[in-house]
Every structure is written in C-alpha cells, then in structure tokens.
Subunit: 376 residues, 2 copies
C-alpha cells in the first residue's frame, strides 16, 4: 500500500529534468535517502530502474572481467546476484545455506581465506524469497579485515529494519522503492562509500553498461555539475520524495518499532492454523513473514480465494519453495494491526469452511494477546 | 505536457505485478503499442527504464562480443549508441554526417559493402540533439539486401511521425514515453521482429545484462507464461496505458497531421527573429524544431528568462552545438497553436526589450498566416 500523499505526488504536473525546481526535488531525495541509509555518503541517489536494476548496477560498476565476488546464496536473490556477476564477466564464489536459513559468517571467512584475490562480498540482508533476516555486522568486519568491498542487497529491508551503512561499513547498497518505503516500484535507492567510489574511479576498463555507469550518473546528481545523462523518471522521483518525507516524519526508529509487533501478532495467529515460520527464531524479517504450508492445504487455491473474495494478496513460494510456503508482506504503510487481523480473519474463515479448523476465534485471540503486550 | 487523464492514472492505487487485473493492463499496453509501432510483432513491450535503457537493451540483446554494428552518427544519440556498442564488446563502424544533416543511405551502403560481416545497422530516426528527421525506407531495404538487422531509435518520433515497423522492415525499435506519447519519462516502448527474436535465441553466450535480457523478460510479458522477472513499474504502466489510449482516440494519422502545421507556424514566426532552422528542408522534425541562434544573442540568458518569466522551457544545444542552437519541443499534448503563439509572443517581447527587433507583431503575423492555410 502507498500513502495517499504519495499517490497525489505522482500526479504532480511534470517539470523538465534540468529545471531548477526539479533539481530541488533531487536534492531533497538525496538528503532523505541519507537518513534512511544512515549514511553521510555523498553518492546516494535513486537509480532509474527497479531493485533488480540496483543489483545489476552494484556489480557492473564494481566488477571488472575476471574479478571474483563471494556471494551468499540462501534464496532467489542471492542466486540472481551470482548470475549477474557471471554475466558481466566476473567469477562468483558461491557460499550457500539452505533456503530459509542465514549465511554463516564463518563460511564467508573460510571463503575469504581459501579463495585467491577477491574484489567483494555480496550479501542479501532481507531474502525476499524466504523471509530470512541476515545479520551483517560480522561480515562487514571480515570485509574490512580482508580489504574487500562489502555489497548489500537491502531491497526489502530499507525502512523496515536498520540498514546502517556507515556504522557497519557497507560499501555498496541498493534497495527498491516498493517495499518498506511504500512508494510504487520503479526506482532503486543506491549508495556508494568513498572506498567504492575510489574503486570505480580506478577501473581499468569502463563499466559495460552506459545506462548504469555510476561515474557518469554522478555528474547528473552532483550539485554544480548537473550534466545530462539520461532523462530522469520525474513522476517516480516526485513519489519517492513524498514517500521518504513520510518515513522521516514517522521517524526511522518508530517505523522499525511498528513493524515488529505486527509480524509477531501475525505469526501468533498463524500458529493455530498449522502455519509454521520458515526461518529460525531471531532471523525472521518483521516486514516479510514466510511460513511453511502443510502439504494437505491447496495453497495456490487459497491464495486465489484471498485475492478474489477478500482483496488480499499474499505471495507464494519461489523456485524450490514453489507450492510449499507463503510469503506475507507487512511493509511500510501496510504494516498495520488492521491488516494483520483482517488477514487472520479471512484465513480462519477459509480454514473453517474447508474443515481444517473447528474452533473459530483462535487466530484473532492469539494475535490480540501479542498486541496486549505491546506498550504504545 | 501530460494530459490530466494520464496524471490521474498515475495516482491509481497499486496492484501486484502478477495480479490478474494488472496483467490486463499489460495486455492493453501491448495491443496499443502495436498500433503506434504499426506492427504485429508479438514481442512489443515497455522496458523498465528510460529511452536510454531501450538503446542499451537494443544492443545488449543483439550484439555479442566482436559483432560489428554500423551506426549512423549525426548527433548526440548516434554517438551514444556507438559507445553502447563498444561497451558491450561490439565493434562500432561509424558512418558520420554533419550535425543537423541526415545520414546518406549511400554511405550506409558503402559501409555494408566495404566492411566484413556486419550484425546490424543502427539509425536514429529523430535526432533529438539536432531536429533532423532521418528517412528509413531505403536503409531498411539495404539491411534486407545484406541480411543484417535494422535497429531504429524512435525515442522522439514515436507518436509524432510514422514509425512503420512492419512495412519498412525494422527489426529492433525502441522509444521513450515522454516525447510524442505525452506520458512521464521512465519507460521505453520496445519491439522486436521475429528475425530479431531468432537472432537473440541463437546467441552463443547469454546477454551481458540480466535486467535487460529480453529472452527472460519475454516470459513475463507472454500471456500464459507470466514468469516473475523483475517487479514491473506499476504506476508508470498505468500512465502509459492511459497515454496510449489518448493516442488511439485521437488516431495516429490525425496526431501526425496535428504536429505538422504547428512546427511550420513556429518556424515562420521564428524567421523574423533571425532564427534559422538547422536541418535542411524536408528533413525537419515536426515535433522538435531546432534553430541556429545568432552569435550576438545571449541564448542561455534568454532561455532562463523564458523559464522564469513565462514558464516556458526550451532546450539548448548539446555537445558541439552548445550555445549555438535552440531545441523547441512541440510534442504530443504540447503540440498546440496556443503553445506556438505563446512562445512567439514571449520571444518577440524579449527581442523588442533587448532592441533586437523594432516592429511588434511580426512573429504572430507570420505564424497566423500558416494557420490560415491549414484546412481543419
């Protein structure tokens, strides 16, 4: 869900992409993005493409043909990242964990010790295909120790849980607008540390991509320069500014705090339905609850019921988890008690109608108990 | 300018990118894009990026390392295209013409005869940096004769002048949404002939880009398949559908016919101000009028005056034409008699105030004479 103020911002009449009034919009976006990324990085912008464009830009700019990147793989997005590394001529060193689990920092350390020269380590903070919440601090520490760049995918996490670029020491980080920032999809917030910028400036050959070449794009976003690169997606940038203002008005910490009880209440309510969380305790994302669906439940049919009869969309499993899990997003504007209770009510009705459950009220009771413990 | 219906469409609440209701939006877009591209190409979509993304996608998908592409260069965008070819490992064979002139088909034929094996010829139909309108039919003929693919940049032309994909035999064509389609920037309409698709399927190595890999993207747009690739930019696609509906309601031919007298009236009105068209007669784009500004006119200052005092934005020259020309867009919704007369009036006021002109009324008189000849 997107706040009405963001929808209204989308329909603002257009300005030229070099109009002084529009350059102010860009400045606002940079300032606000630095707040959510918790960084002072000068290079903090929105890439003109979705989160996957940010993923591609992260590799295209850092990796030169032959460079090795250690990629943590525990779901769809780590897998995709490794593919992107290979497509641009890099060598992907895969450090795998079962889908739903996190990547063990010890496995990353082992890879760093055993591999030859490595350019970067790439880790997904919030694996959107499994709901696993990856800790980043110790991997950041290892990257510093081995003097390699640290790349983080924060597509689903940014604005929902801490993404502390400066404090942890992340060099390249990208996100998407349509997750916890509650803006429509189409842009990828992107930040580069000075270390990453220096590495880009020291490239032997230019970035394979002209569209995603951050060395060129920097000249458009840099105050003073403002050199035309490509036409900025004006309306989407209006929307992003408004969405970021809403995040800023709520306050980052308050926003993180809001996501937590809603995901706990949801999990509590799903338990009596036999829906068990996929990731282990302590590594469950608060904005994306992934649960295993028992084999006797026709999961695709129920998801279709939810959408057509209740107007609720939840995600199915991807890749090897297809047909086995549900992915329930409670992100940004959508992370509300009303959404939790409405979904639980709908599922309970479907469960009772199909004879999977006989006692009504158990899901709401479990969820309400969680909320009664929260002090607002 | 963007029609209020398009602005309103932008603020439509969001759907999921695999929601059946959203898939209908995609189907509508494909149907309507086939109308403006005048094609039956099954692969006709909107790329999730601006026109420059379309340019990059055109090369990334067609060219493999070592492939040669003949690129017509008579402005910024041909130059950029050659860079994109080289960045993805291809060999750019440059066929140049002075900026403002068109590419001579005989020069393309010579290049085809003299070069070794060539994969494609890439030509900009509407060179946005000069206002030159490139004829395509004879180059299309040469491409067929030599069995090479024909790539066309129709960023500024689509919806304003004919882009006849099927009749001329164009294999790859991309555009932008913010020119004659009068939609905000952010998407790139893109179409591939069966010949181009076959060439993509026969690639020896996969596309360097994952984000722009049309073989993968095809599975999301293809009815029946709808495989997740990247999250579609929902709001922008709402806007594009509405903008295309407006084009369809007006009718392509009526839209082309509307652009012509407005550009003629503008040129007639600019003449008494000493502003002479850059491209030769017969090769002037009706949606983008480029005129040479005499050296004694402080062009940047006057453009700033126009923006701040009259709310009118016109473009300056790019690259070697910086400071030497003006680029005046009358595209789609913005191609109106009111816009022409308002701009001429503003310029005349500035000219008189600065003592470049003494007789008031000459620009409007010249423009009005053109309109009086048009039979509506």
């Amino acid at each position: 869900m997107v706040h009405p103020r963001v929808l209204r911002a989308l329909s603002t009449p257009l300005l030229g992409h070099l109009d002084p009034a529009f350059l102010d919009v860009m400045n606002d976006i940079q300032t606000l993005l630095r707040v959510v990324f918790q960084t002072t990085n000068r290079f903090t912008i929105a890439v003109s493409g979705t989160g996957s464009a940010g993923m591609e830009a992260s590799i295209l700019n850092i990796v030169e043909p032959g460079d090795a990147v250690i990629v943590g793989i525990n779901g769809v997005f780590g897998t995709r990242w490794a593919t992107v590394v290979e497509r641009c001529g890099g060598k992907a060193i895969r450090v795998e964990a079962p889908w739903g689990q996190i990547i063990d920092p010890a496995a990353i350390e082992q890879a760093l010790n055993r591999s030859g020269p490595v350019k970067a380590v790439a880790i997904v903070q919030a694996e959107t295909s499994t709901g696993a919440w990856q800790p980043l601090e110790s991997i950041a520490y290892l990257c510093r120790k081995h003097d390699v760049l640290f790349l983080v995918d924060a597509v689903t996490s940014l604005g929902g849980v801490p993404v502390e670029i400066d404090r942890w020491g992340i060099d390249v980080c990208y996100s998407g607008t349509q997750k916890c920032l509650s803006c429509p999809p189409g842009l990828s917030p992107f930040t580069l540390s000075d270390r990453a910028l220096a590495s880009i400036k020291a490239r032997r050959i230019p970035c394979q991509s002209w569209y995603f070449d951050m060395a060129l794009i920097a000249d458009y976003w840099a105050e003073g320069a403002r050199a035309y690169h490509h036409t900025a997606p004006i309306s989407m940038l209006y929307a992003l500014r408004e969405a970021l203002r809403l995040v800023d008005e709520e306050g980052l910490l308050a926003r993180f705090a809001r996501h937590q009880p809603n995901s706990e209440a949801l999990l509590a309510g799903l338990a009596p339905l036999g829906l068990v969380p996929l990731p282990p305790v302590g590594h469950r994302l608060p904005m994306l609850t992934c649960v295993t669906v028992p084999p006797h439940i026709p999961e695709a049919e129920i998801r279709m019921n939810l959408l057509s009869a209740y107007g609720i969309e939840i995600g199915g499993g991807l890749g090897p988890l297809k047909g086995k899990i549900w992915r329930i997003g409670l992100m940004g504007e959508s992370s509300t008690e009303t959404h939790v209770l409405t979904l639980l009510n709908a599922l309970e009705e479907l469960w009772i109608r199909r004879g999977y459950l006989s006692t009504p009220g158990v899901t709401l009771e479990a969820a309400t108990q969680v909320y009664s413990r929260v002090v607002f």
